[in-house]
């Protein structure tokens, strides 16, 4: 992302009297392959399927979507940026003093490097068990664990049904 022009835009919101409403990050995870039998879309032609599938998936695997939301009375606007893992994001504390909480949170939960936070809490805000719980690896690990648990449960219930029969 282009820091200078981004900060200029934020500065414009500040000058116009907007209020910082939220800084939100979404970890973009490529949707898992639909379980067989539940495929929503008709299968794509076999020829271009691998390329079409592989490209966005690998790209999306390392992307965060950040939205800075501003509110003013009834209006509500957002600035959105996509960054890849490892990119630094400039802090907007110089315009909006209240941004420090959001930014500390983002750094702790998502592992995004936010530079120049007004009040830097040094990763002591939440102190979670899982470090960086919303990083791509952490989410994928949890999704895999959930899927494995579901599979085990269904296998167990199938076995139980067999026993009964």
């Amino acid at each position: 992302m282009d820091s200078a022009s981004f900060l200029a835009r934020v500065g414009d919101y500040h000058k116009a009297g907007w209020r910082l409403a939220l800084i939100n990050v979404t970890t973009v995870i490529a949707a898992p392959a639909p379980p067989h039998g539940a495929a929503a879309e008709p299968a794509a032609p076999a020829t271009d399927a691998p390329t079409a599938d592989a490209a966005p998936a690998s790209q999306a695997a390392s992307v965060f979507e950040i939205a800075w939301a501003f509110a003013k009375d009834r209006e509500f606007e957002t600035i959105r940026e996509q960054i890849t893992v490892g990119d630094a994001v400039p802090s907007i504390s110089e315009f909006f003093g209240a941004a420090f909480l959001y930014e500390n949170e983002i750094r702790e939960l998502f592992g995004i490097n936010v530079t120049g936070i007004g009040l830097d809490l040094q990763g002591q805000l939440y102190k979670t068990v899982t470090k960086v719980p919303f990083s791509h690896q952490a989410i994928k690990a949890r999704l895999a664990a959930t899927a494995a648990a579901a599979a085990a449960a269904s296998a167990a219930s199938a076995a139980a049904a067999e026993k009964k029969a």
Partner: protein, 141 residues
């Protein structure tokens, strides 16, 4: 000394609860339920307390606080876990920062179920806690 055992002092600590059980504990103190008429007193000081009432489950950060509070209380002492969260982690049991019920950290004597636990059941839990306290006192005496 039975008059003494009927008047336990309670230390309330809010683990990672949603406030629901928490305010129900407070509601027990207020005119409709009014446990103070039984001599039950809510204190802020662990060194005065007989019963530790914990709402909410254990997470990474409050684990040491609960341990610490428990250690500071004089023997005999009783722990009452209020609400599904404190008993087992409740609805949040599968969230990443929750380690489970408070029996992961300190021994629990009475479990009060409910989400949110009703004041009646909290009072009932405290009364059972008093019985447990009495037993412990006899054992140590």
């Amino acid at each position: 000394m039975s008059f003494f055992s009927r008047s336990p002092w309670i230390l309330h600590y809010d683990g990672s609860s949603c406030n629901g059980c928490d305010i129900e504990v407070l509601a027990c103190l207020t005119p409709l339920y009014d446990v103070e008429r039984f001599g039950v007193l809510n204190t802020g000081n662990p060194k005065h307390a007989d019963i530790l009432l914990v709402t909410g489950s254990v997470n990474e950060k409050n684990i040491e606080i609960i341990e610490n509070l428990y250690r500071q209380m004089p023997d005999p002492k009783v722990v009452v876990a209020v609400g599904a969260c404190a008993c087992s982690g409740g609805i949040f049991a599968r969230a990443y920062n929750i380690q489970g019920g408070i029996d992961k950290v300190v021994p629990v004597d009475v479990y009060v179920p409910g989400c949110a636990a009703r004041p009646e059941s909290i009072i009932d839990g405290v009364v059972q806690g008093i019985a447990a306290l009495e037993q412990k006192r006899k054992k140590t005496a």
